[in-house]
Symmetry: C2
Subunit: 396 residues, 2 copies
């Protein structure tokens, strides 16, 4: 796979897009069998994600076309450094090798990952759940057809598995698999992280914070907090805990509570915030670590910048945290001292996203500090190697 | 540690260099106690590495001065990208956080790692073996003095442990330690890789290859193979298996065998090479995976380029592999298809080294494909974060 040319990879992406449209009726028929079998069996959120429709297929086709437009992440010269006369060192980007993608329910992950793997020159093992077995079967036929049409693709460049037993075996193949990408619930990601020595790309949790510092523009602060919490509460970059500087809490909290009530945000707070807003629920220790994924929001009054930073580094998940302030010096301290993949000043946490960051394709959001951190684009699917070309150079 | 300025970090490095000279007598006295206690107890190679002398201390002082000259790896703007008017995205390098360095015998690892940690803004936990406990004690006092002289260093920026029980506990602290760096035998590295979910930087093995392709300059090929094997046989980038194209084996092998004998290289070969050189030992399957670390060398005649690439990807350790040929097209295929951190053309494998690559400081050589691969300089000790500065930007 690493030897494919950019043209070959883009040709395969074109073929994939064409096949998705050609086979859309077959795919949706197989999918409706899965939906029938799983009705009342699968929990509602998973059931909804199982569904494949024309809209999703068209989005996948568009995704292929977008990837064709992106520069090839492989073969980039990252460093070029002459060591001696006629001895040139180059650092060149190369595919990681073999990706293993493990996911529940959402069968549209298959073509999405296929497309990313093709563009980045990686082989891929896709491990779907049994609940999507008919759809997976239809995708397997699509992949066979794709391999036929693109004879330059190596044998077994892509495997699709669907039995539960295979996961454990996969996770033990340290020497064959270079990266595991889980796509599913927090529990699933945590479970996979705990049970393998292969690097795992992703994040189990998104406990994101916003800190309202004094001085700040109160209206901006209210807007940002409401947007971060309520615009799409189940996203991993949605706000879970709001911290408020004690110097501004008396003014900010009543304003915020009014707007929060209007949009349905349910507050639970510390003692000091409940003194100002007696109507709200009491927050307990677990609330500071909670990823609600809904309209609940924990709020806490803090004594200032350092207190806020300490809280975030202690209770957060190192995903995305934002400060709202008109004090630039305080903002810079926050951006440096908060140990998270994304740190924002006067911006909603919802901006933490590969597409919004302009990466063109998102592989996932990583809270690991090694390799790719934060929103990960195609660059997260490549490594590099050193090429050294000489004329008989020995060391003495 | 991540908030220290470049000036503060360089000041700490200067103080470390001064203290190493000031305390050299104390350090060597403590070290001689360890040597006395371990005489006849510790295996010879470990015993030799336990010794600290004036030469080593001066090299450490020089290492500090070299690091001062290097650019700060923290705070580099790696990407700057306006997303909307007044909304600027930056990717900025930051320290990894907490390093855990586990080593046997060699107490000079302590100041070396201290210096790298200071420059890269990382906290560090050093876990030494009991065999160096007196020397470690003297270093602990040196560190206390360093912390006193550099009051800007945060509390407990560096911990030095020396009991064996603590290793297991350390390796379980996934949430507190960001990177484990082992410095010791292959067995030790493998053991650590197997027993932790924390990323481990390093390599267990260096099974490096050289492939003599036809056509090539025979004299150059002999020189390169001898240099790669014999210049420093115990190095991880020394040659372990030599592959020879069947089209050139009849000419190359007799020449090579003559020179090999002169410098003491002991050959063991496949059937075909023994047909040409009947005097050499027979190689068995294990020889193709062996890291001898001495003057033994496995040789195999292969049918051509593809056969050589297949052998290397199957039996090698993905460390460093070199092709010798005058055919540039063949060389390019080798450089692309061999899946190793370092791939060379007409260069001795011994060049795979951070200092020779011009990185100025070497943290180690990594055979992992994620994060840092190959010889790793200071850049391997940093991660990055995304800073996004706006003016109240919400998502819709």
């Amino acid at each position: 796979m690493g030897l494919l040319s950019t043209e070959q990879k883009n040709l395969a992406l074109t073929s994939l897009a064409v096949l998705l449209r050609e086979k859309s009726a077959v795919l949706m028929e197989a999918n409706s069998k899965d939906l029938e079998e799983q009705k009342g069996v699968l929990p509602m959120p998973l059931f909804q994600r199982l569904k494949l429709d024309n809209l999703k297929i068209e989005a996948l086709v568009e995704g292929c076309h977008d990837l064709i437009q992106l520069p090839d992440p492989v073969g980039k010269i990252l460093l070029s450094h002459p060591l001696q006369p006629n001895l040139l060192l180059e650092r060149v980007s190369v595919p990681l090798g073999v990706l293993a993608v493990i996911f529940e329910s959402r069968p549209d992950v298959i073509p999405q990952i296929l497309a990313l793997s093709l563009k980045s020159g990686n082989s891929v093992i896709l491990k779907a759940g049994r609940e999507a077995r008919n759809t997976v079967g239809a995708f397997r036929e699509l992949i066979d057809e794709l391999s036929k049409r693109c004879e330059f693709l190596p044998n077994q460049w892509c495997l699709v598995l669907d039995s539960r037993e295979e996961v454990r075996e996969l996770l033990e193949m340290d020497d064959l698999i270079d990266l595991v990408i889980p796509r599913g619930s927090n529990e699933m990601v945590r479970e996979i992280q705990k049970s393998t020595h292969i690097p795992v790309m992703g994040h189990a949790e998104g406990v994101c914070h916003m800190y309202i510092h004094s001085p700040c523009d109160i209206k901006m602060a209210v807007d940002l907090a409401v947007n971060a919490k309520a615009q799409y509460p189940s996203a991993c970059n949605a706000l879970e805990t709001l911290l408020i500087d004690v110097g501004i809490s008396e003014i900010f909290l009543p304003h915020f509570a009014d707007v929060a009530e209007l949009v349905g945000i349910q507050l639970r707070g510390c003692e000091e915030s409940r003194r100002i807003l007696p109507q709200i629920e009491r927050a307990i220790e677990e609330d500071w670590r909670a990823e609600y994924g809904d309209l609940r929001l924990a709020i806490r009054v803090v004594s200032g910048l350092n207190d806020a930073i300490t809280h975030i580094n202690e209770y957060g998940s190192h995903h995305t945290d934002s400060i709202v302030t008109s004090d630039k010096a305080a903002a810079e301290i926050f951006l440096s001292a908060v140990d998270s993949a994304c740190v924002f000043h006067n911006v909603s946490t919802r901006f933490a996203d590969g597409f919004r960051f302009g990466f063109g394709a998102e592989v996932g959001i990583s809270t690991s500090k090694l390799h790719a951190r934060g929103p990960v684009g195609l660059d997260g699917l490549v490594s590099y190697k050193y090429k050294l070309r000489g004329g008989g150079h020995t060391v003495s």
